[in-house]
Amino acid sequence: MRVPILQQGGYLIASVQSSLSDEELLQLRDDLVARVSTVRARGVVIDVTVLDVMDSFATRILRDIAQMIKLRGAPTVVVGIQPEVALAMVQLGLSLGNLETALDLEEGLTLLGEHTKAD
């Protein structure tokens, strides 16, 4: 299933719905990158609350997405990482690099709001 992308204010919100296949994640990357340019989004939130595993592939693609979106002038925030998933990621040695994170969607939007103000 294609991950739905909502538009709210100047932001794009992608809520991952269920355990994601690789194809769907790559599709999400392409969709987001395209949408950011067409709607001139001020920021992107990716909600991964439902993911119960984040492996090296998922991490790498999320980082790629943020990078590509940044090149188009918008910040990305990943929200909803579960405590166990966070612990597994750091124990495996995975890092989201400079990608910003927040507790949930609401926090993510607040964070983007702060960025926009600061810019």
Binding site: Q8, G9, V79, I81, P83, V85, A86, L87, M89, V90, Q91, S95, L96, T101, A102, L103, E107, L109, T110, L111, G113, E114, T116, K117, A118
Partner: protein
């Protein structure tokens, strides 16, 4: 127990003999199994008399003082029946699970290990005396009966006391765990700010619990900043230090920033020498300074929230 009372076929008797091998020097016509059967019949016949005597002896010896006479008699009856059954069948599972169950019930009432061993030895004694009374006119038979009885009785005593000790250890372990959890509170000092004061010695198990509690606490309190104060940590090795670094990273993935306070220069130096990367961690001298820094971060964010947004 009914299944064990059925008359046994020849083949089953053979099996019994294999379980209780003949002791050398015994008349070949009288196997240990036969003796034990005779013994079991005697113990069943004298059931009420013997268990009453046992209960009395328990009270005289001032064992199980936490229990009433009726309770002691009730437990004595169950133990007695299980005991006889173990003698009869040579299997200890039923007795073992009864011993565990009994221990579970009496441990919370403060019954001590020596009391449990004491009552089992008393039962052994009561039964041996009764055998002595029955067979005192036939001394060689008495000896043979006792020879058959002793090893089985020892094993039973062993089973019961080991069951008790294991149960007791389990209870103690659980209590220790509960205490451990109590001693690592995650405190909320103000909205969105948590403090995790770590005190004492951290082993790997506790480090794990600390992390889990902190991450759950971040979610529950929607914390944005966490101050981990390690002033009270007795010693820090590479493992623990790396664990703290991981905790900081994990908290960040949930969207919370972490400030570590109370890291002495000596410890910091040692950690750097053994290769722990502290550069990604914000450290502030003491807890007070850490809280101020955290509030600055939160305050900065509060000021930045634009009321006209969304």
């Amino acid at each position: 127990m009914a299944k064990n009372n059925e008359t046994k076929s020849k083949a089953e008797n053979k099996e019994d003999e294999a379980k209780y091998p003949n002791i050398p020097g015994q008349p070949p016509d009288e196997s240990t199994a036969t003796l034990l059967r005779e013994l079991v019949a005697h113990l069943r016949q004298k059931r009420s008399e013997l268990r009453e005597e046992w209960a009395n002896r328990i009270q005289e010896a001032e064992l199980l003082t936490a229990m009433t006479k009726e309770e002691i008699l009730a437990e004595a009856t169950s133990v007695y029946d299980n005991y006889v059954e173990a003698l009869e069948t040579g299997t200890y599972e039923a007795l073992q699970s009864y011993a565990r169950n009994l221990s579970e019930r009496i441990i919370p009432r403060g019954v001590e290990t020596h009391e449990v061993i004491g009552i089992v030895l008393l039962l052994r004694d009561v039964l041996a005396r009764s055998l002595f009374a029955k067979y005192r006119d036939n001394f060689s038979k008495l000896n043979r009966i006792l020879d058959a009885y002793e090893p089985a009785a020892n094993r039973i005593a062993n089973t019961v006391s080991v069951g008790f000790v294991q149960e007791r250890e389990r209870v103690i372990r659980e209590q220790q765990e509960a205490i451990r959890e109590l001693s690592t509170p995650v405190l909320q000092v103000r909205e969105r700010l948590l403090i995790l004061p770590i005190i004492g010695i951290i082993d790997s198990k506790r480090a794990q619990q600390l992390t889990e509690q902190l991450l759950q606490g971040i979610r529950k309190n929607r914390a944005k900043v966490v101050v981990i104060d390690i002033t009270g940590v007795a010693a820090m090795d590479e493992k623990v230090a790396n664990h703290i670094v991981q905790t900081v990273d994990a908290a960040r993935l949930l969207g919370a920033g972490v400030i570590v306070t109370g890291l002495s220069t000596e410890i910091a130096q040692t950690l750097v020498t053994i290769g722990v990367d502290l550069t990604k961690i914000i450290t502030v001298g003491d807890l007070q300074g850490g809280i101020e820094e955290a509030e600055r971060k939160l305050g900065y964010q509060v000021q930045q929230v634009d009321p006209t947004k969304s």
